[in-house]
Symmetry: C2
Subunit: 373 residues, 2 copies
């Protein structure tokens, strides 16, 4: 066997029938919910100029894209690793003149040059939505509620949402719990790591109580409110309570106000979504800023991204086999069409000795009726 020729690269897989069907169903369910809430689908290209996407990315993210030369322009192009930067570009350019708030959604494949940590996967399905032009509490509540409704429609169960306040330290360091500018990053890092000793060593002893405001939402938000010196966090706490009130019937809620990893790009509000049968995060979202086309121009936005591949696999494994109708050679084509029109899946014989059972058929067309095989 020429194993070498037909090998797939590391971290790349085929979705075979059961899982491809589940992927299509999940995508359809999520996109239908987003559409029903006024989110317009857009479809950016799979590859773009490297610089364009990198300019809208944070940190070392650009290095995770596959890059190659464009023979047309001689500039570097890249395979997209995150569709949200493309949505930001569309909002700033092609839809720069559209009314705000602008609601957009998307679904597509994203690719990275390397897996991350223990997961070698290099291609994923990414779906999401962005509400552009506002990061108001009402917008935040809507975006999270829509994400949860979409996931439930897709078949996800046991949803839980972990709230965070990405700019927590910056907000407190300004006045309430002052920190020298050169200490802010270290304090942020130690809080994210939940390292009490490291936090004190970094000069953030005043921030220690925040490590107690973590856990089930109702209790944790009370502890945060109690800690909130001078009310610097009052509006954020009120906002979180409002959002929580809106979605508490849809998911179990927790709070981790200083969670930072994955939220470097976010502003006042962030959240992570988890579900049963899915290890790790199913999705993530929050408020952030989209760069406009002109230098210095920007606008607020709230959005979320879902990475449902693992959910898809779990749902596929639980799918029941489908009824399928075998159509013998010379069958009544009109009867077959009528049965398809009411939902039957048919498989036609292409030769006289095609075996219905071998083809996975549960029924057979006889005298215009579906008869169990």
């Amino acid at each position: 066997m020429d194993t070498d020729r037909d090998l797939l690269p590391e971290g790349l897989e085929d979705r075979l029938p059961a899982s491809a069907a589940a992927a299509a169903r999940v995508t359809r369910a999520i996109m239908d919910v987003l559409d029903s809430h006024g989110y317009d689908r857009v479809q950016p290209p799979t590859i773009e100029f490297e610089k364009s996407m990198a300019s809208r990315m944070a940190g070392v993210q650009p290095r995770r894209m596959f890059r190659f030369v464009d023979p047309a322009s001689l500039r570097m192009m890249a395979l997209r690793s995150d569709m949200t930067v493309q949505i930001g570009r569309i909002a700033a350019t092609g839809l720069g003149g559209a009314s705000r708030p602008l609601r957009l959604c998307y679904a597509g494949q994203v690719i990275t040059i390397k897996g991350d940590g223990l997961d070698p996967t290099r291609e994923r399905l990414q779906l999401g939505a962005e509400l552009i032009g506002s990061d108001a509490v009402s917008a935040a509540g809507e975006v999270l509620a829509v994400a949860l409704e979409a996931l439930r429609a897709a078949g996800a169960t046991g949803l839980s949402v972990d709230f965070t306040l990405p700019d927590l330290v910056d907000t407190l360091a300004a006045k309430a719990l002052p920190l020298d500018a050169d200490k802010v990053e270290a304090v942020r890092r130690e809080l994210d790591a939940k390292d009490a000793g490291g936090l004190v060593a970094a000069g953030g002893e005043a921030y220690l109580p925040l490590l107690t405001a973590i856990g089930p939402f109702d209790a944790a938000i009370e502890r945060l409110a109690a800690i909130d010196a001078g009310g610097a966090l009052a509006s954020r706490i009120a906002a979180l309570r409002e959002i929580a009130g809106r979605v508490k019937s849809l998911a179990r809620l927790t709070l981790d106000p200083s969670e930072r990893h994955g939220f470097e790009y976010q502003s006042w509000f962030g959240f992570t979504i988890y579900a049963a049968d899915v290890s790790g995060a199913l999705g993530r979202g929050g408020s952030y800023t989209i760069l406009g086309a002109d230098a210095g121009a920007q606008e607020p936005a709230i959005g979320f991204s879902l990475y449902p591949d693992e959910l898809i696999d779990a749902l596929a494994a639980a799918d029941a086999p489908r009824d399928t109708l075998f159509l013998p050679l010379g069958h009544d084509a009109e009867a077959a069409a009528r049965l398809r029109a009411v939902g039957w899946r048919t498989v036609a014989a292409v030769c006289a000795d095609c075996d219905p059972a071998a083809l996975g058929c549960t029924h057979r067309l006889e005298n215009g009726e579906a008869v169990r095989v």
Copy 2:
């Protein structure tokens, strides 16, 4: 304006809302028809090893893929330019043990490093289906009929199908109209070009009558039958008549038996599909051979590929605007959910002064009812 940063590369575009909605609708309609006929969806990765895809391609096609090094294996990878080679690989490997005939379908983006001729487009949507393990007449008729039904469901009109016999010259040159081996390729080329003078110069004078067997199917197939010296083409002619009989109610049919361009990979049967409002081919298909995993192993197959981007744009341009329901701040969430459940699209206010009309809303929620704005 930093035009440079947000520029898209040549031949790559965003689908904005109207056209993204049409693309999703067309994809869904086509895939639903394919599914109803027993075709199982599969989803191969967007990138693979270059050698794997190239080994299943004809001619200079491999050169049209974007290529880059895989840091994991240090081998060359490529962006797929044609999903049919991936389906062939899946049929030979992951589904190598599945019952035949194996019915698979797919939908995805394909990318080329350069546009072709006058069309600079470098990324396209490709959808298609493959019936693997048979190239019998019944299979050919099914595949074409399913393609046409899918296109009609997607909204295509004015469908026409041009039939061809890709191995026509090889079949005739063997015995009926003998040609030296070194003349076969030249005769094939001149016939494809419809160049009578060139055909004679290439030693193919005996093939001149074939140039009259071109045009509306019923008349052309009779001329082909009349030309058919010694009946070398008898079974192919009978097959075409049978297939034509099956699909004549779905499309206008023509015959061009020596059409070659684009069918270098096909065996006995090929077809090109055209539609109203679409310049150039909407799709193409035919019989061919899939290489198995083991050296020398192979199996017959029939399939088609559609490239519906232009159809999508035409349908998007004809779409009517949708009714949209504006939900003021503090609206009755249950009433809104009930209206969405019966098909309403809603847009919620995020601030007190959101203007329904500016947001494209046609109705407004008042007292649990949708009232025209």
